[in-house]
């Protein structure tokens, strides 16, 4: 004989259609909280203006390689705005919107990609992790933070983000396992933007969803339209609340699209069709939210013009702060290596100070 001893389903959440209409009468409170929606909209637009400027800085030799966040604004703001300050964020390297919502400054981002470690000593929560280039390792650091909070009995939650590519790595799967085994206050977000540099989602694996990887570890797992800030924020809030109340971890797959190249060192026209990108632009999150706000009478051209001016001014100020920062000192290559400088390194430092000017 045989019998089904386990079965699962993955729910997909979406409240706002690509053309900005509510597709359900039963919507989260945020759908009618226009002050909050306008706040999020402003942050999304500022993030996009910042992103465009950062790419321009790279193209003109004023910034190093930069990873764009174009198209991810709703997902990122949903993550960042659903968290409390005492919660802990473990990003990969393009979640600027989430970090801006947590108080990280635009100039911090520029400093990091501008080749200066001081970018990692960012404004915002001092316990948040810095940008993480080794793919998916951040998921385990978030799990470790969550374990620390749980052991100390603190009502804090850790949130980590990984990509569709990163979801193939063992670190991500081990984080799911840890979250399940220790019932951690953790939210693991798979930001599925369809592309891991040149490798499409379909080549990562043949599973119907990436969210279902969480099911394998025994975690509640779901999928959400990551370009719909109302839905993305709703599922984040639910997952964070459950984690905070001791209910354990959640895996959320946010469906979005990387409208940019992987980084400024990449050229996506080498491997993907323009038609696909054109189709993705019709799903993008900022126009979607604007159409909804305008249709509800909560946004207009005048506000849009004001916002554009405000965003440009904020970005220009950040660029000014970035370009005005003096180069790091020779000492800084040595002084943060250890709490106390070892003897031999002190000798190397002394010599460097003499030889390098």
């Amino acid at each position: 004989m045989s019998a089904t001893i386990a079965s699962f389903n993955i729910d997909f959440f979406q409240f706002l259609s690509p053309d900005g209409r509510l597709i359900s009468k039963d919507v989260p409170p945020l759908a009618k909280d226009f002050d909050e929606l306008r706040r999020l909209y402003r942050l999304m637009v500022k993030t996009r203006v910042f992103d465009k400027k950062a790419i321009a800085l790279q193209r003109t030799g004023k910034l190093g390689t930069y990873a764009s966040c174009l198209g991810h604004e709703a997902a990122h703001l949903a993550i960042g705005s659903a968290m409390r300050e005492e919660d802990c964020f473990a990003p990969m390297y393009r979640e600027y919107g989430a970090q801006f919502a947590r108080g990280v400054k635009m100039s911090d981002v520029l400093n990091y990609w501008g080749g200066d470690e001081r970018g990692n000593d960012f404004a915002g929560p001092a316990h948040d992790f810095a940008w993480c280039v080794p793919i998916a390792t951040q998921c385990l650091h978030a799990a470790g933070a969550a374990l620390a909070y749980k052991l100390r009995g603190e009502a804090r939650v850790a949130v980590s983000v990984v990509g569709d590519g990163g979801s193939s790595k063992g670190d991500f799967l081990e984080a799911i396992n840890a979250a399940s085994a220790f019932e951690l206050p953790l939210v693991l977000v798979i930001l599925n933007n369809q592309w891991a540099i040149s490798v499409p989602r379909s080549k990562q694996n043949k599973a119907k969803t990436l969210a279902q990887k969480g099911i394998g570890g025994g975690l509640p797992s779901l999928q959400v339209d990551g370009n719909d800030i109302i839905a993305a924020r709703w599922v984040m809030e639910q997952a964070i609340q459950r984690a905070r109340e001791g209910g354990g971890a959640t895996v959320i797959e946010m469906i979005t699209y990387r409208l940019s190249d992987h980084t400024t060192a990449d050229d996506a026209t080498r491997y993907r069709d323009n038609e696909e990108v054109d189709r993705a632009w019709k799903q993008e999150p900022i126009m979607r939210l604007r159409q909804y706000l305008v249709a509800e009478g909560e946004w207009d051209d005048e506000r849009e013009a004001d916002l554009e001016a405000e965003a440009t001014a904020a970005v220009d100020a950040a660029v000014e702060e970035y370009t005005a920062l003096e180069k790091p000192s020779i000492e800084s290559m040595f002084d943060y290596m250890y709490a106390e400088l070892p003897h031999d390194l002190a000798a190397q430092r002394e010599r460097a100070l003499k030889e390098l000017k």
Partner: protein, 326 residues
């Protein structure tokens, strides 16, 4: 005063610090009720509970990643890699994160963790259980690599490693886990990191070593004494950052040096020590510096492992070659 073997001294140090400092937790595979496969954590779960002595799922990368995450948030995790042969799944986290956490965040975050791992050959273990690959970690800026060679030094150096505000690899030579017992006072006193220990004073030659090889090196010194050769024996203990000053000071006195380590020769820590002597001790040397090491071949399975590892005979040969140079 307790008469303990080295592995028991490890347990004593863990218990002392866990009792003193609530932020210290132990985690790893089988470290809980089983007390670790070598019993290094025996009794800790029973005394401190499962929340502070954490049996993890069987996933080494997870152990390293969790430890880093906990360490950045104010805990002091002491993780165990069950054998050094399984540590490579942890290397990404140790090198890309633990080693550079303080530096890359300009001190905003730090990583006060210890990763303990039994290492080295000589106990007839299966494949991948006997290698000595400490040099991989010694090469990485930001990591401390500490290797005890006796119960007293295991106790004092492990306490110092847990208290250190930066990440420490604490590599335990398992061949000497239960070799000799020693009186160790369980008083919470640590020993200094980043310094060599001069175990035996001598005037004719300096023998530099660490870990399990301290045993063969001291035995060699006894034999040399019978021949009328006075050997100074240095236990490096912290192989990174390296205390060259103590070694150079000794060679200034003896004029001769043989370095002994179980690890393969190529890019071993012995090479760094020899280079340090060439740089700062050359004019005190009467003879070439020799290394007695494992071969640059794969650590054999156990039938041949003792042939691979430096023996008293091989060390004596090297010393005699060095002593012949007038």
């Amino acid at each position: 005063m307790a008469n303990v073997a080295m592995v028991e001294a490890v347990t004593m140090a863990l218990a002392w610090e866990m009792a003193q400092d609530d932020s210290v937790v132990v985690l790893g595979e089988d470290v809980g009720i089983n007390g670790g496969v070598f019993r290094a954590t025996a009794g800790l779960a029973q005394r401190f509970g499962n929340e502070r002595v954490i049996d993890t799922p069987l996933a080494e990368t997870m152990i390293a990643g969790l430890s880093i995450g906990m360490a950045t948030q104010g805990m002091k995790p002491v993780a165990e890699a069950q054998f050094m042969g399984f540590i490579y799944a942890m290397v990404d986290h140790m090198i890309c994160h633990a080693a550079r956490m303080r530096h890359r965040t300009r001190g905003r975050l730090s990583c006060p963790m210890v990763l303990r791992a039994p290492f080295g050959g000589g106990i007839h273990a299966p494949e991948h259980h006997s290698e000595s690959t400490e040099a991989i970690f010694a090469h990485m800026p930001g990591l401390r690599v500490v290797i005890p060679s006796s119960p007293a030094r295991a106790y004092g150096l492990l306490l110092a490693s847990i208290r250190d505000p930066d990440p420490v690899l604490f590599l335990e030579p398992k061949r000497i886990y239960r070799l000799n017992k020693e009186e160790v006072e369980d008083n919470g006193e640590d020993l200094p990191l980043d310094v060599c220990f001069v175990l035996r004073d001598g005037t004719d030659i300096t023998l530099v070593t660490w870990g399990a090889m301290v045993k063969e090196t001291l035995e060699t010194a006894d034999k040399l004494a019978e021949q009328g050769i006075s050997a100074e024996v240095i236990d490096v203990a912290t192989i990174s950052p390296l205390d060259m000053d103590t070694i150079i000071e000794s060679v200034e006195k003896t004029g001769r040096c043989v370095i002994v380590h179980e690890a393969a020769r190529m890019c071993g820590v012995g090479a760094e020590i020899a280079a340090g002597l060439a740089d700062a001790g050359l004019y005190h040397l009467h003879a070439p510096v020799k290394r007695v090491t494992g071969y640059d071949s794969v650590m054999p399975l156990y039938k041949m492992e003792m042939k691979y590892m430096p023996s008293v005979g091989r060390i004596l040969n090297a010393v005699n070659e060095v002593m012949e140079v007038s």
